[in-house]
């Protein structure tokens, strides 16, 4: 009789402790290190995306700068041809 009571008490205590463990500890949540890792990864990703945005803008700016330079170069070549024509005429005019 005493053995049955003792067994029941052990079973109840085990159930209570098991339930408490399940409720508060057994549902696995990230620990501090994992949270820190998550924060660092998130921060690095956002930072990389920001840098990518900046680089994209810089590339667009350089593309327009290159277009402008090529236009200037083309203008210079046209000017050079015009100067040559004027020089040819200038020789005869002078």
């Amino acid at each position: 009789m005493v053995g049955v009571k003792l067994l029941r008490r052990w079973l109840v205590s085990g159930a209570v402790i098991g339930s408490l463990f399940f409720a508060f500890g057994c549902t696995s949540h990230p620990n501090d290190n994992q949270i820190r890792q998550m924060e660092e990864t998130r921060s690095a990703a956002l930072s990389a995306e920001q840098r990518l945005d900046d680089l994209t803008k810089q590339r667009q700016q350089l593309e327009s700068e290159l277009a402008q330079k090529q236009k200037e170069l083309q203008q210079c070549e046209t000017n050079k041809a015009d100067v040559q024509k004027r020089l040819d005429n200038w020789g005869t005019e002078q």
Partner: protein
């Protein structure tokens, strides 16, 4: 006792568990995240970072390539300009110096062209000087450079404009045709373009016109554009005393009146556009 305790403990545990589950489902707090959610979230951020890093590498490569292309274009443009300088037998400093001279001429001329036709006409010697300066610059090969060439073209146009502008200011002559009358002559665009200026023709040609209502074909009238040294052109609001005051004393108005008696019938009545002779000037 035991049964009551078990029921109580079970209720507390169920309540606690259900609150925990609810909190985990709707919270973005990493602490309350389930591990599978955590790993999914971590994987998502790691993928975003990896994607961004790959794109960064790609962009950096493109940027380096663009910078190289810009440097090449710069160099080619510089070479092109050097070719132009060589063709013009100069260098950048010489070219810039010449361009500055051309711009100075343009600047001087722009204020000159802004003057009235009479002023331009009176200062036509300056216009000649500008033409000489332009001719001097044109002798230099650098004038064929792209920028100086454009500036000098503008200068040439400005000189032509100034000459055109000053043409009406040159004193002209007009031969009276049948049917003409002073009002009609003054109204002609190449005379004054203003019929009220008939008085100017009349008073400038008083030796030929005794009566402004009577002019004759083949008469040749002087068409003045600017007041002569001994003349005064009456403007609205003038009176003889005022004019006399400008040229000495207001009390000498009688002298002006006497000198212009043939066109002034009443000393208190003078009209705009009259050309008065100033005695003793």
């Amino acid at each position: 006792m035991n049964r009551k305790l078990i029921i109580l403990m079970s209720s507390v545990l169920m309540l606690t568990f259900s609150v925990g589950v609810f909190a985990q489902q709707y919270s973005y707090d990493y602490k309350n995240m389930k591990m599978d959610e955590y790993w999914a979230e971590l994987s998502k951020w790691q993928k975003r970072e990896a994607d961004a890093q790959a794109a960064i590498a790609e962009q950096e490569a493109k940027i380096a390539q663009l910078k190289q292309q810009i440097a090449d274009a710069d160099q080619q443009e510089q070479n092109c300009w050097n070719d132009i300088y060589t063709m013009l037998e100069t260098d950048k400093a010489g070219y810039d110096d010449f361009l500055q001279n051309a711009k100075n001429l343009e600047s001087d001329l722009s204020s000159f062209v802004a003057m009235s036709p009479e002023e331009i006409y009176n200062r036509r010697n300056e216009l000649e000087q500008y033409k000489n300066r332009l001719a001097e610059l044109r002798k230099d090969k650098r004038s064929l450079g792209p920028d100086p060439y454009q500036v000098l073209q503008r200068v040439e146009n400005m000189i032509a404009d100034a000459e055109q502008k000053a043409t009406p200011a040159a004193a002209g002559r007009y031969e009276v045709q049948r049917g003409d009358y002073l009002w009609k002559i003054a109204k002609m665009p190449d005379i004054y373009g203003d019929p009220y200026a008939w008085m100017r023709i009349y008073t400038s040609n008083r030796d030929q016109i005794k009566n402004p209502d009577l002019i004759y074909p083949q008469q040749i009238f002087r068409i003045p554009r600017v007041a002569g040294p001994n003349e005064y052109w009456v403007e609205r609001g003038d009176n003889l005393a005022e004019i006399a005051k400008r040229y000495g004393s207001p009390f000498t108005w009688q002298k002006i009146y006497e000198a212009n008696k043939d066109v002034i019938s009443d000393a208190n009545l003078i009209y705009p556009n009259m050309v008065l002779v100033l005695p003793g000037q």
